[in-house]
Symmetry: D2
Subunit: 384 residues, 4 copies
């Protein structure tokens, strides 16, 4: 009996941090063989070239796939998903995995889920059952209905999966692997990250307070993208402290966001702003753990942020319904309101830890279940 | 205020009969404009060239799209879905519909749902909430989670949609449009269909009893496709009555099925078998209404068959969990058992009508709701 | 120093016979490693499933690719080429061959040429420089302009390649590998092929005279495809001898051809016609070598037929300008004229051999050159 | 008799300037109807969003298509060509043009040529027959072999087309439409372009001497892309005058180029460098006409530059064999040599005009021929 082949698809910068501990746990497991596919925005320089970070971490990539159709609008987002589906179908056909693991809810993730389920391959899904609003939630639940094994992050998510009619015996509350990375990262002193990484913009002081801005376009509001991120930049500029800005992900609207960010940078040359494309997952944890406030709409504020007690200003509707700790202040797209919320958080300082999304042992648990679970693509609807 | 643009995607032979009454109701509605896309197997000669039947029926096709990657296996099924997704994204971008309507649950249907929802277009879905087992059910529920407006066929389906967390205000129990076609068809005398249509094989007598065979590959059992349809053909051959055979749909495994059917035909030259690629929806209704027994695994036996009281021998697992009337006898893939079940049904004759899937008024109801419903792509999960 | 990796792409039934001796010569060569990609219609059952014949011949396939978009019209022919280009780009990127070999001139072959040349891989091309008229000739010359190494079949082709501005030092007159298969085949007694292979239709007698019909759609005349092949079938039927019919290739128009062939077969049930999808290359040689006359528009009548002295009736414009022996009688699309030409050829019997396309040593020569030639993608135009 | 439908495909920033006068001449012509498709990098913000410039110029776009697969390497360049081929096949099928016009030689242009010729549409080609070395030349000649009507820029190109075997009656020496734009532009005073357009970087003085840098990756040397553009930037920086830099096109290697350009900019903050993504064709003419020297490897230095007498430093092999005036100094990839050549050109100043590529009347001539030429897709090889 050979090892079980577990194929994990990493499709974006965010994906990697959310599955990294699982990848290493699979790699270490005596009964499992890791097949790692890196694709979509995870192979692109503009989105932080996750593939090269993965290789530096010592993982072997089985296949890479270029599937993003350039344009960063709604049509290209859908086309990119179609192209990813075509490519993953071929790759799964070649690699013949026993189980495919898909991460969370981004648009390309649905391609992974369809390719695996149409090829009669057992599909495992992390972060299912979370409620957030926006297309991400619809995608997440659609993936759940195609998946055979579920690794939700907490009991609330478990109960949503049950209502969705999934087999209770195939739902495993493992916690979220993103928290594993946090726990691991906190064991080490990162040193001065601002000296370690390049990026562009002015050089900041690691020991002074700084804000982190990470704001993605909300695809549900694609036609209102204009001016959105500018409000945030103006608000944090006004706050008068150092600012680290991360570029947005590849969702529809990101070209507009990037354009506004570049124009702001050209205009406010002397602002104490520094820009990064991507940091390795652990260093991202340190970056936000050390910051005075995380501003934007990244789920990391709500997920990793809750565990770390990082003050967060969450802007707009993208994380609408996500379960959150007291560390999060929600505001609208309004420069003044963002500014006030940032000032409030600066004053408050660190929060206590809210371990809503697990305690840091998800990777091992997931690998263990993957090594033992039944390989079956049969599903039926469970009435509650 | 212009008319609402309603874009309906017909992707297969089966799709058309299940949405035809809706198409005509939209066409007639003063506040609606029909945008009809015909794609996937619905534009292929081998699968009955539905596009030409639609044009003969007097409907104007807005766009056709060739999206089937040849090969009829699991990989090409997934690739075809990816290609359909790429093409539909472009078409929806051009046509700018207010609402997209997607039909039921076939593999390409998920492409329609993704393209519409990723483009922030309100998505309506017919036949949601039905339980059947197999990948079709997973696909159907995944589409539900992407859809904004639901037109289920009966109360059982409504209750599944509610458990799936859909907004009760956007679930409309209209009955299934497939039954509209049945009711309409029964108003007319079709005449002798065997004289009306070509097909291949020996000429049959319309007034003698005949069986209809319609059996599709079950993609969940793709690797066991070999020999499956042959058992059915041998069983009905043994029954000693006339037989009308319809070619299978485009699912993975259909090349194998077609090959076995052609080889059987070559071997059993004198058998009283006649083969059709496709009949218009109403004539298909007459064909099965007039038959002594419908044999295979088509959902039409269970859906239209229930309403018509047609004796059905349902083979294998494809319709496992579908709600059915007493007209259906279920059997395994076994020549002897199929033969016995056919003989039992021949002896029993017609059943009473079981109006499980509606009463024939779905088209009008759906068009009416489409003309009035809120256009919104916001969704949230409704706890039960 | 490792072996040179030579990647050969087989895209159709016809491709295989024209490159088979090269494949085996590469396989045997101590300094070469064969990477064999089988794709396009060569992986489809309907077009003779060349992949399975290749495997029976003992060759290892490195990758298969499904790239045919179903529809068999001009649009799907072009789309299929685009899809093949996307897939081959990925495969060449993975396989990293030193040289790619592309065969002749079919529509998908251009995809091979583009993928290789855009990836800066040295591209070798067989059968360049031949003049035939129709889109095939344009495609063949376009490939020549992308290719770096040329293996034309005769001096006439060499002189065309020179006029096209190719480097004389990279043009090698090796003869056509198709003739290698002929020479090899003639060394063995095939036995009774009609007993060896299945096919459909009536059983024929190997020792009676028979015609072979192989007619492909002419894509340049796509809109006049209707009725074309029917004329041929009626003419050969009238000739009153046994007939072996091969199904057409995957070019635009082949669905129409197949339909007419099936309808003819249904109508003329008792005709002494037998149908094959594909025979292995050597058995195809025996089939036409043993036949009374080859009817249609296949280049094999003109190429292999010249060497074998097979009487050929060549119909229509598809082989318009191809260099031919006296064994070929050209006729228009006209039942009476085809009939007369067939009767003339039946009366004449076998011709002498015209070794226009080589003498049977191309495979070894080509492998040898591939092992030694300069690997370079630099090209410049040579003035004559 | 309706108007002839002429479909022109604009695939890049460079394409537009080279076909603009033809577009307007078609638009004005009483017997022609323009169908304008804008696709590939011409619809992307990062490559100057040509589509929006076209719309500002008052032309109506019939269809846009997103066909660039992100990644900017050789594989994605080939994949993008495949995707463009798939999309253009569909668009030509819908638009049913009488003639398709394809421009010059970029990688996506071959997709236009294949789609048109496979669909049996008469294909016209501008800038055929030019000799340049590199893959561009191979692509240009491959397109010639697929094209039916040729609009070369000068007699040298005509003689190459004849050697390539093209029909002399379908070769029309019209001059290059790029020169039309130059002639038109020179009639107007552009004013201060540096005040008119945004861009990024330091503000320059229109009346001081400045260099223009436009350097594209050479795909034939893709694996040596690193460090190439940096040498140029350092050389021009050392020259000590103002510098306008344009971003490179979408060829493989452009991500590397862009990265080095951004890093140089971050490092040399105070350098008198200004960056533009794109200027409308006429303003680009003014930009280089007014500059002290054009540095890089753009064909515009050699084509438009010859006519304008602009001093050009042409770097590397990309324009190797292109016919040029005395205004061009060729250098290798070497900072010192580039620097010296720039200094020499600064000293020399403007050259006389070399009207190698036409005199500014190509647009009208081409439109006129398109309105009268035979519509035929028949081709045969003409021996010289």
């Amino acid at each position: 009996m050979g090892k079980r082949k577990i194929c994990v698809v990493v499709a974006s910068r965010a994906n990697y941090g959310r599955i990294k501990s699982v990848l290493f746990a699979i790699e270490r497991h005596p009964k499992l063989e890791l097949q790692l596919i890196v694709e979509a925005s995870a192979v692109l320089y503009n989105y932080g070239n996750v593939a090269s970070i993965i290789e530096k971490d010592g993982l072997k990539i089985s296949a890479t796939s270029y599937s993003i159709v350039a344009g960063e609008n709604l049509v290209t987002m859908a086309k990119s998903t179609g192209l990813a589906l075509m490519e993953l179908s071929v790759l799964f056909g070649e690699l013949q995995p026993d189980i495919v693991v898909t991460v969370a809810d981004r648009f390309e993730t649905l391609a992974t889920a369809i390719a695996a389920s149409y090829l009669n391959i057992t599909l495992a899904h992390t972060q299912g059952g979370e409620l957030t609003g926006s297309i991400d939630e619809s995608v997440r639940h659609a993936i759940t209905k195609l998946a055979h094994i579920h690794f939700p992050a907490n009991e609330e998510a478990v109960s949503v999966l049950r209502q969705l009619g999934e087999n209770p015996d195939r739902i495993f509350n493992t916690g979220c692997p993103a928290i594993d990375v946090v726990v691991e990262a906190l064991k080490k002193d990162p040193g001065n990250l601002f000296q370690k990484y390049g990026g562009t913009g002015n050089i900041l002081n690691w020991d002074e307070p700084y804000l982190v801005v990470l704001q993605h376009p909300n695809t549900n509001e694609y036609d209102q993208s204009e001016g959105i991120v500018l409000k945030t930049l103006e608000a944090v500029h006004k706050a008068g402290v150092n600012v680290v800005v991360l570029w947005p992900n590849a969702d529809a609207g990101s070209a507009e966001f990037s354009k506004e960010m570049r124009m702001f940078r050209a205009r406010a040359k002397d602002a104490r702003f520094h820009f990064y494309r991507n940091l390795p997952p652990e260093d991202y944890v340190h970056l936000i753990n050390n910051c005075a406030c995380l501003v934007g709409n990244s789920s990391s504020g709500i997920r990793e942020g809750a565990f770390l007690g990082v003050p967060v200003v969450n802007i707009g509707t993208r994380q609408n319904c996500r379960q959150r700790g007291a560390n999060v202040v929600d505001v609208e797209y309004d420069t003044e309101k963002i500014y006030s919320a940032v000032m409030t958080q600066l004053e408050h300082g660190k929060y206590v830890s809210y371990p809503i999304y697990g305690t840091g042992t998800a990777g091992e648990k997931i690998a263990d279940i993957l090594s033992k679970c039944e390989l079956s693509v049969e599903k039926r609807f469970f009435h509650v």
